[in-house]
């Protein structure tokens, strides 16, 4: 194992930890179960003593620890609203030919949300492997979506769900205890159409997984944030979160429309479907909340090749999404965003980081991918 992952509960006495065989550890700091920060620490002689862990915790999560303790001490919850019962929910897992990952995810869901309505959308499957996995979970519904594409599967989930809210998790992620409740607690504000959560790596056992977590982590920090187009740029949706851990009101279909099926996995654009939905929600004047209390653990791609393809796909997806926004919605602001990203971020990393090169290559093909997907979708419709 290259990097161990260790949860540290700061409300209890810290102890010496053994990490034999690891060169570093990812410490995930918690206060009464709630994740408040994380840090990477080099491991010498396979051990970290309590004083070191406390010092690292204070450096990495000091302000958040103070804030969490204070909120709890004065009984303050920034999500609290008067007279709002949490909405009903359906958990949706969109999958395609990954039976082992799907089994792991369903086992995790059975443990953390045993009474939840769970729906598996099998997207244009070539085999019946997912159906066989679902048969082992009597409370899980199986739906086959014949049209290929992650966004087609997400739309099917929105149509098939019974709950007012649909919580999406990837088929290679494992939500932890309290995940669903934490997502639902943010829907007290009727303007909130979407809530995203904190996604952390389930394992960091290969160089590719470490690089992914360094270059493009799913997590967006440890402080709750409300996104609103009156304050935030609705096109710059990177900080909002990711589709691997998000919940949407089902009424999103009527309010802003479903997911754009020209985008994301299973189409030439490879990704960007979740971010396009975020941009549309914000542009229509609704809100999105990022709440790190909703934690899910994601298994990143294990090989170098998978990693490069994934990162390149992110580049394709972002530029494909922006192309669509510019072409169809005349969102001139995407030009400024693309320029700013290129100059301030991508060019600096270009000569140091092969992932940045893969991402930029993807960006350059994004517009063509969007038009190809647009034509293919037009032909299908």
């Amino acid at each position: 194992m290259r990097t161990a992952i260790c949860n540290v509960e700061l409300s209890e006495p810290l102890s010496v930890s053994d990490f034999n065989g690891c060169r570093q550890v990812m410490l995930v700091f918690r206060w009464k179960g709630r994740v408040i920060g994380r840090a990477f620490a080099a491991v010498a002689d396979g051990r970290l003593d309590a004083a070191d862990v406390q010092q690292i915790a204070i450096e990495a999560a000091g302000p958040e620890l103070s804030r969490r303790w204070l909120d709890e001490h004065v009984h303050y919850d920034e999500r609290e609203v008067t007279g709002a019962a949490p909405p009903t929910a359906t958990v949706a897992v969109c999958t395609r030919e990954r039976p082992d990952d799907l089994r792991y995810t369903l086992q995790a869901l059975a443990a953390v949300a045993p009474r939840a309505d769970v729906l598996v959308i099998d997207n244009a499957p070539a085999t019946d492997s997912a159906r066989r996995v679902v048969e082992g979970f009597p409370n899980v519904r199986y739906v086959r979506e014949p049209h290929p594409g992650l966004n087609a599967a997400r739309n099917r989930a929105l149509r098939e769900a019974r709950g007012e809210v649909v919580a999406f998790t990837d088929d290679d992620a494992a939500p932890e205890e309290g995940w669903l409740d934490a997502l639902l607690a943010n829907f007290g504000d009727p303007r909130v159409l979407c809530v995203t959560g904190l996604t952390l790596p389930r394992e960091l056992e290969t160089d590719a997984q470490e690089q992914f977590e360094r270059h493009c982590p799913f997590g967006r920090g440890f402080r709750r944030r409300v996104f609103d187009a009156l304050r935030d740029n609705p096109l710059a949706v990177g900080p909002v979160g990711a589709g691997a851990n998000m919940a949407l009101r089902r009424s999103v279909l009527a309010r802003v429309g479903g997911f754009d099926e020209r985008l994301d996995g299973g189409t030439p654009t490879q990704s960007g479907g979740d971010h396009e939905m975020f941009a549309r929600i914000l542009s229509a004047g609704f809100r999105i909340v990022y709440d790190p209390a909703a934690v899910s653990w994601h298994r990143h791609r294990r090989t170098e090749r998978e990693l490069l393809n994934t990162v390149r796909g992110y580049g394709v997806g972002v530029y494909a999404m922006w192309t669509g926004l510019l072409w169809e919605k005349r969102e001139l602001g995407v030009l400024k965003l693309a320029w700013s990203w290129l100059v301030h971020d991508q060019l600096r990393a270009l000569f140091r980081n092969p992932l940045a090169r893969a991402e930029l290559r993807g960006c350059l093909t994004g517009p063509r991918a969007w038009f190809a997907s647009h034509r293919a979708r037009g032909a299908r419709v």
Partner: protein, 426 residues
Amino acid sequence: MTAVSVIVPTRNRLAQVTRLLRGLEQREPDAASLEVIVVADGCTDDTVARLRGATWSFPLHVLDQSPSGAATARNCGAALASGRILLFLDDDVEPERGLLRAHVSFHRSHPDAIAVGYLPPILEQGCFLGMSLRGWWESMFDGMRRPDHRFWYKDLLGGHFSISAGDFRRVGGFDSAFRCHEDYEFGYRAIRAGLSVRFLPDAVAWHHETSDLAKVFRRKFDEGVADVQLAQSHPDLIPTLPLAWRLPQGRAARALIGCAWGRPVAGDWLASRVVAMLPHFERWRLRFRWRARLEALLVYWYWRGVASTIGTRERLSALLAQAPGPAEPELTVDLSAGIRHAEETLDRSRARSVRLVCASHEVGIIGDVPGAEPLRGAHLRRPIAREFAPAYLRAAVAAGHAPPTVAAAILDTLPAVDRSREAFAA
């Protein structure tokens, strides 16, 4: 006896008021204990004849009066009402099922309170003005939805609220001198009379918002006029009115405000040029540029209203000078005995302002807010957890309330917290 009298002022909006009345018929099973009073305020269409000629499942009274404004119309409706509860609705709302039940059950358990209902706007999707209006409307309810909200006179929305008929008479009804913000003025007197205001999220009336830019600017002008009236009638409200604020403005807004005072013709022409730019920004979805121009225009029309009413800057300065100065806190509460104890103390005293200390450390002052309800215990949590967090954390460490790891974190991060107080409070 009739339980609820619904009072609806209207002017030449037959389709809207019919939609509201049919909505009440269809969605309110308790219609037997309901009466509706529509006050036609200077209608020149056939609203009166059509409403009187139709059949309704509830008693409907239609009053016809010369144009006198919504305040007078509501007072006339209230004078005719026989219900124990008066429910005021605007004519462009559409009731959701359960609206009446929510108001009636609220007044059963809160005899001395005003219930403000929820007015979610229905707007054209995608247009920038619609998005801004949605933000404006919903931001009013954002605060009210929280249990720690301190209600004040601006929370009273004339388009959807209920009050017992006795309390309405005791407060004295609406001041008919106001053509805008008559609801705020009523809210001020109601709170001063000891009534509390509460928000009913379950009482939903969809608001069909059809404002265009011209209506929005006219409304801003009226708000400027009304704020001068509010300042003249109730000088203690002056600090809460935008005309008393010295907000930093952009170049365009400063130029427009200058014109509002001395050269309204030039100002109107300049404003029309800025308005002409808005469609171009919207066409290319340049929302931040669009919004900056709109803000400048709203500021201009507000100040046009102020200037047209009061005349000169000197008169405004003389008016602002009547604002009361800051007062010492009425009460000191020590937090070292625990938050619950402090909340109970505040619930008992209902002071208007409080100094918070923890042992010998000052934590902060929650000041008096003109036109706001007296403080409740629930008002303590947010200021301590956010605005006063650095001071309270320091005091908590000194008093030994924080566990060792937390205390170490607080001591390590406090200097940074002090430097970025706003970031911590955000």
